[in-house]
Amino acid sequence: MRYRLTLFLTFMLAITLVLAACSGDEDESAEEVDATESSESDGEETDGSEGEGDSEASGESAGDQVLVFARGGDSESLDYASTTDGESSRVTKQIYESLLDFEKDSFEVKAGLAHDWEVSDDGLTYTFMLEEGVTFHDGTDFNAEAVKTNFERWADPDHEFAFTDDGYVYSMYGTMFGGFKGDEGHVIKEINVVNDHEIEFVLNQPLGFFLQNMAMSYFAITSPQALEEHGASINENPVGTGPFKFVSWSKDDSIVLEKFEDYRKDGLPKLDEVIFQVVPDNAARLIALRSGEIDIMDGLNPDDAAGIEQEESLVLHTRAANNFGYLGLNTQKEPLDDPLVRKAINHAIDRSAIAEALYAGYAQPAVNPVPPGYLGYNDELELYEYNLDKAKELLAEAGYEDGLEIELWTMPVARPYMPDPETVSEIIQNDLGKIGITAQIVREEWAPYLEKTAAGEQELYMLGWSGTNGDPDYFLSSLLHGSNAGSSNRSFYKNDEVDKLLDQAKRAVDQDERADLYKKAQEIIYEESPMIPLVHSEPVLATSSDVKNYVPHPSTSESLAEVELDR
């Protein structure tokens, strides 16, 4: 019995080896097999989607317009509003559309499902004119009622589609619209359907970045019929109006989308199929790109980027910065309550060294707590000069000519804005040592770290922030508004003037006016140094040179409607 098994195993191994060896001419033979094969499989598929057999066949014969987008992790959920995961919005961006949209490479707002919009002078009423003749992937019509249903779903935990019992929380809605239905700060007072293609939002108070919000992929529109039909499992059965419709999702592996033939824009999308493939290992992903198995790879190692630039068959892309890592200073604690000390530290940190060490240069030393390219980014301010003499002077001025001792809290986990906190903390410790500040590194587990820094136990600490809707408010107010001290403002920075500027900017409707207000706030912050922005990382990615019209968006989610493959 035993050697019968051995023989079987020998046989199995032989097969595997033959498979490996004969793979070279597999393509030609595959063609022949396929002809008989596809007809057979057609007959057997009963519950597959109708078009699948065709699309598969056309996908095979055309072959070209199937794009494989490889990334490091899978999507959490395909219900965009209940997650803040970037890998999720990357996919839902293709399936869903919002009322407005961002320009290809910036956070500038443009038309989306609404081709036009009006804002009342008091900034309290927004009217959107919706595209006509748009249908969802399930064939139902897109109209103002659908928009209303979606917004009510997010605002009202008791809404029939809120799925609160299934753990759905629309945290981004709460953040962006000041809370939920019934909350004090909730800005949306009412939503009025004017007619099928016109909808009116009435606000309690002006919200400077309301339009920005409407362009976010978090607030896209789902087919109400799909919500009815799929209920809480809408997260695995997305139905939108976007250029691609959902086909299948094999978790931790791939999500398959196919061309939506009735897409509202003629001639788009150009691709027949998009496959989001999970390839967790950076090196493996690069190998797959080189061997032609994938077309776009996200999450390139900065160290590999230089090599890519040399390769003819590959193209290197940089995504504009949309985050920053910072060294926080607890402004309530001695000696950090003294702006002179804070400025001294600011002069002592060598940001370029950090950018070089961690991102191989694919990062910018940060000046402001807002990424460059954002509305109101103050480009008149210059980087705090890395100047140890000046730093020492400032310290002496503050009365610490003999140096001082301080705690430096270091993050226990890696984040996109801080891929290696341990190294950063060592660089900082070293830099501070040069001006006589002895930094003691403190390590905590992640949850206690967050709890204790929110409670203000720390002195120096490390954290960061990532953008979502491309509005400066999300950075500046969260991190530095006095009302957020003890939650997201862990520097406990309270400056009435800054608070006033930020509040005004939040309510202002005119974008230029907002930009001015933010610039002023940044000046004060720059001067007071409540936190030391370190770097804005610029993620790098690579595509095969066959991929055309691909433009990475700073939000990490770009529409692939115009992308095509040229091979």
Partner: protein, 333 residues
Amino acid sequence: MLAYTSRRLLMLVPVLFGMTVITFSIIHLIPGNPAQTILGETATEEAISNLEETMGLNRNYFIQYTAYVGDLLQGDLGTSLRTKASITSEIGPRLAATMELTFFAMIFAVFIGINAGIISAWKQNSWFDFLAMVFALVGVSMPVFWLALMEQWLFAQELGWLPAYGRQESRNPIDPITHFYVIDSILHMDMKQLITTLKHLVLPSIALGTIPMAIIARMTRSSMLEVMKSDYVRTIRAKGSGQFLVIYKHALKNSIIPVLTVIGLQVGVLLGGAILTETIFSWPGIGRYVYEAINYRDYPVIQSGILVIAFLFVIINLVVDLLYAFIDPRIKY
């Protein structure tokens, strides 16, 4: 045999109970408030208290545990915090993926390992023996990720023979039935798909199977050498039988028992510890599922993943024990 089997099954009960206690405790053993850990730096207090409410973290431990075990008994592993999907349905395909990979890795390891061990023992101190044992030593100490990347570099990038990642071609996915893709492609009667699936299995199986292969080879060799010295092998040779019969019938069966122990342990290790291989080869398996859940602090998934892996481990070792009894008539049932 029946009594032995049922006794072994009964002995599982306390083991399973212990496992549930341990997995249940995981969430309460991490420092700090679990809800804060899960939600991260942008969490509001309200979100934290909401989550505590949903997860029942504010109830007393006993009630929480009872509810946990009650759900488990109904086959309900809970809901993933991250994806809001039922863990039971999420874990199935991943388990299948891991089991398929483990199966082929073990076939590779067992086939090569046992044969190399046998030939080494047979031709003791020959150049083959020497080479095989050097190779086995290297195999044991070789970092899996390095081997995996070398395989990818050579067979995927340079030679283009085999795919670098995944269980199937992205551009031509399979329609899963059992989620064991080899079985699925047979069920679909799709020869091309079967070949593709097998091709995807080659590199990760080798990467994953190399360490067990080396261990099995060394174990088989020493076990064979022991058996070859035994009186009954001398008897069989005195009967006039050839080496092949001696080795593949008698010596192998006798030396397989310690090897079987190793195989059982290794299967367990592979099931739970294939994270590296699964990551490098983009294998959507259970190791990566748990690993990612750890990154995202998705505690229900961590609990369930560990529970399922531990359960499989226990079952495999049970099977190994039953196999002993099957192979060796001296083991009392």
